[in-house]
Amino acid sequence: MSESATYVAVVKDECETCHLAVPVLAEIHQAGHPLTICWQDDGAFLGPGLAAATVDDRALERSFHLAVETVPTLIRLEGGAETGRTVGWSREDWRALTAIPTLGAGLPLHRPGCGSRSVEPGVGEALRVRFGETGIRARTVEVAPGADAIEACYDRGWSDGLPVVPPTPERILRMLGGTRRDPHEIIGRVPPELAPCTVEKVAINAVMAGCRPEYMPVVLTALEAALDPGFTLHGVTCSTCFSSPVIIVNGPIAKRIGMNSGLNALGQGNRANATIGRAVNLVVRNVGGGRPGEIDRATLGSPGKYTFCFAEDEGDDGWEPLAASRGIAAGRSAVTVFAGDGIQGVTDQKARAPGELTRSLAMGLQAVGHPKLCEWAAAVLVLSPEHYAIYREAGWDRARITSALHDELLLPGEKVAAGADGVAEGMPPSRAGQRIPKFHPGALLLVRAGGPAGLFSAVLSGWPGGRLFEESHPVTREITE
């Protein structure tokens, strides 16, 4: 220890180890070492003998600048620079740091410390905003005292129509804590304006959507999938049709962040389902400029333009999850984005055999786009547990069900021809005599979800902009955290 060494201790009253350290701090003080004791909550426990050495740090500014995570912390400074630190109580370490060989002679060898108030949940980000550098590059907007921040977001056109969580710097920093990616990394250019989108901009929109930080890897991957040229987000956003990105999540992350794949999986009530989908759509609106009535030209739109996100039920070992069927290794998490509309229920409470259920579901699928339009749009069939049980008991897997549905949906050209049955819409009459596939190969996806009771499944119609399937199709991406 040099002659110029000074010491800073950080303590709090509610920590038993800090109480244990009081006589030790007194020994250091009495030994003539320059000592400053920063207390975080109430300094009375330090006693009158140390009063002259104490500093009120209830604002936690010193704790923040000293990067204290545990109390007690003892720091040695020489020439203004830190040359040593110990946390909690360790007789050996404190003696080494202070060069007082008899320090704490009557105390136990070791006691762990407690968490510093400066790292309590939510506090760290607030201290960084107040006393440090946030690193956030997005323009700041000041909302006047007394004004409603939610209304300020409405006024600036940042909302999808529902209230948003005001994107304060503290919330943005917490959201960025949900990913290891650099906040300034550009994840892609978001159509229609092809604006570069950083991880930070995604985090801001995720805050507004109501996401928790642990959802960030899903939001980021869903956006990256939607920005794949094969998904054609520009067309999906600007189209007169109904579609928006429908996000289907597979793998362990779905359970870890509490996503719903069961009862009401396609409905309301689950924070992760609701806010992940909303975050993606807010990015399209705010970063990409895809605002309805402007370049979003949807004739009717759909509720999915607020949010449409759910997890697949992977609780049946015999069922190959959607992501696995699309090349993602088992046990990995993934997102599939599908340009989809709303939900069309298919009720069949009488089928008991896989063949008759397939024919029934195919009738529902034939309505996608229009019952007489083929090779037109993609679709997702969400199989409920009770419908799936009929297939499972018969030994039918994903591949067989998909194949059987495609077979049932080879439609007679004369029946779906324009003008047939008094309906002008339809396929070119020149294809009469052919059996025309309703869907392109690969354009019918099967997903399992739903509650245990109900012989209903759901058809999600796809965007017809990809009439040539290679122009617009579902995209699956593994989630990297």
Binding site: A149, T168, H234
Partner: protein
């Protein structure tokens, strides 16, 4: 009770498109070339064929342009070709 200001961060791209005044339409199409732009919607060709026939009947030159699919935006190359090769554009937008 004292309230303090709330700081928010902008969720948008923070960009603004450059705006410029729209060019006035020509007083007459004679001596001009009309671009007929097919964006890939079904039956756009029928509509543009019909229009082209009528324009030619009036002695007005046309030039046809197309993008391969309505699903994706026009490339800069196509837009540059139109700007270089025509004076006005008719774009067949709908089915």
């Amino acid at each position: 009770m004292t309230e303090s200001a709330v700081t928010l961060h902008d969720p948008t791209s923070e960009t603004a498109p450059a705006t410029r005044p729209r060019r006035k339409p020509p007083a007459s199409l004679h001596g001009r070339t009309v671009a007929l732009f097919d964006i890939g919607k079904s039956r756009a060709d029928e509509f543009l064929d019909c229009l082209e026939t009528r324009l030619h009947a009036r002695g007005i030159a046309t030039a046809r342009f197309a993008k391969p699919t309505n699903a994706k935006p026009a490339t800069n190359a196509i837009l540059d070709d139109i700007a270089a090769g025509a004076d006005v554009v008719v774009e067949a937008l709908a089915d």
